[in-house]
C-alpha cells in the first residue's frame, strides 16, 4: 500500500511536470480555459449558494443553542458564525461538495476520452495532452474556486442571519454587532489560501485519476469514486496543514 502510494505520487508529479510546457497554440488553450471557467463557475454557482445558505443557517442555529446555556453574550453568535464560515466552513464544505461535482465530472470526462482513444488521437496529432487537457482545468479552478468560496462565505453569513433573526433566537442588532466584533482581516487571507489550494486539489487529483484510467466502464466508475474520495481526503489534509501554518 505504501509502495502504491509512492507510485501514484510519482506518476502524479510527473503528470504535473509534463503539463508545464509551451502551448502549441495559445488561443486554443485560452479558449479551453474560458470554457472550463464557465463550466465550473456558472455550473456550480446555484449549488454553492444553496449549500452555503444551509451551512450558515446550521452554524448559527447550533451556536445560538450552545451559547444560550453559557455565560457568553448572545451577540457572539454573529461573531462565531462569521469566523467559522470564513475560516473553515465555507472553504472546506464548499470544496468537498465541488470535489463531488467538478472533480467527478473531470475524472469522468478524461477517463471517457482515454477509453474512447480520444487521448491517443490527440497524442498522434502531436498535441501535448497532459498540457492541453489538464492545465486549463487546474488553471481555471485556481481562479474560480476561491471566488466561489468567497461567495459561499458571504451567503453563509446571510443564511445565519435568516436562520436566527426572523425566528427570534437573537435580535438583528445582536447578530450584526457580533459580525463586527473582533474582525481580523487576516482570516480573509486564510480563506483565499484555502480556496486556491483546494481548487488545485479538487481538479488535479481527479484529472490524474481520469487521465490514467484503464479498462472498461467498471474501472471508470472506480476512478470516478477514487477521484472524489481522494480529493476529499486531500482537502481535509491540506485544511489541517494550512491551519497549522497560518494560525
Amino acid at each position: 500500500m505504501i509502495l502504491s502510494f509512492f507510485y501514484h505520487l510519482g506518476r502524479f508529479i510527473s503528470l504535473l511536470r509534463l503539463m508545464i510546457s509551451k502551448p502549441e497554440n495559445w488561443s486554443m488553450y485560452w479558449k479551453e480555459t474560458v470554457r472550463q471557467m464557465n463550466d465550473m463557475g456558472v455550473g456550480s454557482l446555484i449549488i454553492v449558494c444553496l449549500i452555503s445558505l444551509f451551512i450558515g443557517a446550521v452554524s448559527a442555529v447550533q451556536i445560538a443553542f450552545q451559547l444560550s446555556e453559557q455565560i457568553v453574550p448572545m451577540y457572539y453568535t454573529g461573531y462565531i458564525v462569521r469566523d467559522m464560515t470564513i475560516i473553515e466552513m465555507a472553504p472546506t464544505l464548499t470544496c468537498l461538495v465541488l470535489a463531488g461535482k467538478v472533480g467527478s465530472s473531470i475524472a469522468a470526462e478524461l477517463g471517457g476520452m482515454r477509453q474512447k482513444e480520444q487521448i491517443d488521437a490527440l497524442e498522434i496529432m502531436g498535441v501535448n495532452t497532459a498540457a492541453y487537457l489538464v492545465f486549463p482545468k487546474i488553471f481555471a479552478a485556481l481562479f474560480i474556486v476561491p471566488l466561489l468560496v468567497a461567495i459561499a462565505a458571504f451567503v453563509a453569513i446571510i443564511g445565519g442571519y435568516l436562520a436566527v433573526v426572523p425566528t427570534g433566537m437573537i435580535t438583528a442588532t445582536e447578530y450584526v454587532t457580533g459580525l463586527r466584533a473582533f474582525f481580523v482581516p487576516y482570516n480573509i487571507n486564510i480563506m483565499f489560501v484555502k480556496g486556491v489550494v483546494f481548487g488545485f486539489t479538487l481538479t488535479a487529483i481527479p484529472a490524474y485519476q481520469g487521465y490514467y484510467v484503464e479498462g472498461g466502464s467498471l474501472e471508470l466508475g472506480q476512478a470516478n469514486m477514487n477521484a472524489v474520495v481522494f480529493s476529499n481526503i486531500a482537502i481535509l489534509f491540506c485544511d489541517f496543514i494550512i491551519t497549522l501554518m497560518m494560525t
Binding site: 502549441e24 497554440n25 496529432m125 502531436g126
Partner: protein, 253 residues
C-alpha cells in the same frame, strides 16, 4: 515507407510479439491481419510510436523512430494520421470542428483558408450537410468518415487505421475501404491497416501481413491469397466450410 526490424514486445514477461520484420510500402494499402489476440493492435501501436518495443527497430524512411525524444516525436507526428477503431471523435465538437481541430491547433491559416480545407475534406468523404452535427447524432459509418477526414486534413505521409470496418455492414465497409485506397494512391501515403475483415483483404490487400501468435506467418497480396496453400492463411481467410467450397470452385477443383 515504414520498416519494422525484428520487433519484439513483452508485457510483464509475456512475449506478445516474437520478432517481426516487414516492410510497408508507400502509395499502397498495407494490411495487418490475424486472429483475435494475434497482436495486431499492439503491433500497430508500436508502429505508430504510441508504445515502445522491447527489442527491435522501426524506421520511417531513413529515420529510426524507436528512440526519439519528446520533441522529435512531436515533429514526427505532424506527418502521421490515424483512424481509431471507435473513431475517437471529440464528443463536444461538431463534425466540422472535429475536422478543423488539427488546423486550429497546428497551423496559422486564416479562418477562410481553414474553412476551405474543411469543406474540401467533407467533400472527399461525402459528408456534405452534416457539418454541424455532433458525433452522437451520426451513424457509425459516418463517424468513421469524419475520423478519416480528420486524420488526413494535415496531409500526412503515413496513415494508420485500426480495424476501420469493425461494426460496419459490408456495403459501408467497402465504401470506407475504397476511400482509404483512393486517398492512399492520390497522395502517395504509406497506409497501414489493421483488420480481420476478409472482404477488405480481397479488396484492398495490396500487401498483406498475416500475424499468428506474435509471429509473421505469411506475406503476400490479394491476388495470391486464393491460390496460396499456406494452411494458417487458408484457415484464417476461408474460415467457414461455405467459403472453403467457394475457394475450391474458384480453383476449379
Amino acid at each position: 515507407m515504414i520498416r519494422a526490424v525484428n520487433i519484439k514486445k513483452s508485457f510483464d514477461g509475456v512475449e506478445v510479439l516474437k520478432g517481426i520484420s516487414t516492410i510497408f510500402e508507400k502509395g499502397k494499402t498495407n494490411l495487418i491481419i490475424g486472429r483475435s489476440g494475434a497482436g495486431k493492435t499492439v503491433f500497430l501501436k508500436l508502429l505508430v510510436t504510441l508504445m515502445q518495443p522491447t527489442e527491435g527497430e522501426i524506421w520511417y524512411g531513413d529515420v529510426n523512430v524507436t528512440n526519439l525524444n519528446k520533441r522529435q516525436l512531436i515533429d514526427l507526428r505532424k506527418d502521421i494520421g490515424m483512424l481509431f477503431q471507435g473513431s475517437a471523435l471529440f464528443d463536444s465538437l461538431t463534425v466540422e470542428e472535429n475536422i478543423r481541430f488539427p488546423l486550429d491547433m497546428f497551423t496559422r491559416k486564416t479562418k477562410k483558408e481553414k474553412q476551405e480545407r474543411v469543406d474540401e475534406m467533407i467533400e472527399v468523404v461525402n459528408l456534405e450537410g452534416s457539418n454541424d452535427k455532433y458525433p452522437g447524432e451520426i451513424s457509425g459509418g459516418m463517424q468513421k468518415r469524419v475520423g478519416i477526414a480528420r486524420s488526413i486534413v494535415l496531409n500526412p505521409k503515413y496513415l494508420f487505421c485500426d480495424e476501420p470496418n469493425s461494426g460496419l455492414d459490408p456495403k459501408t465497409s467497402l465504401v470506407i475501404d475504397e476511400l482509404i485506397q483512393t486517398i492512399t494512391r492520390e497522395n502517395q501515403i504509406t497506409t497501414i491497416i489493421n483488420t480481420h475483415d476478409m472482404n477488405s483483404v480481397m479488396e484492398i490487400g495490396e500487401k498483406i501481413n498475416l500475424l499468428h501468435m506474435g509471429k509473421l506467418a505469411w506475406v503476400g497480396n490479394k491476388d495470391e491469397v486464393v491460390e496460396n496453400e499456406n494452411e494458417l492463411l487458408q484457415n484464417f481467410i476461408f474460415a467457414s466450410p461455405f467459403l472453403q467450397r467457394l475457394r475450391k470452385q474458384a480453383l476449379g477443383k
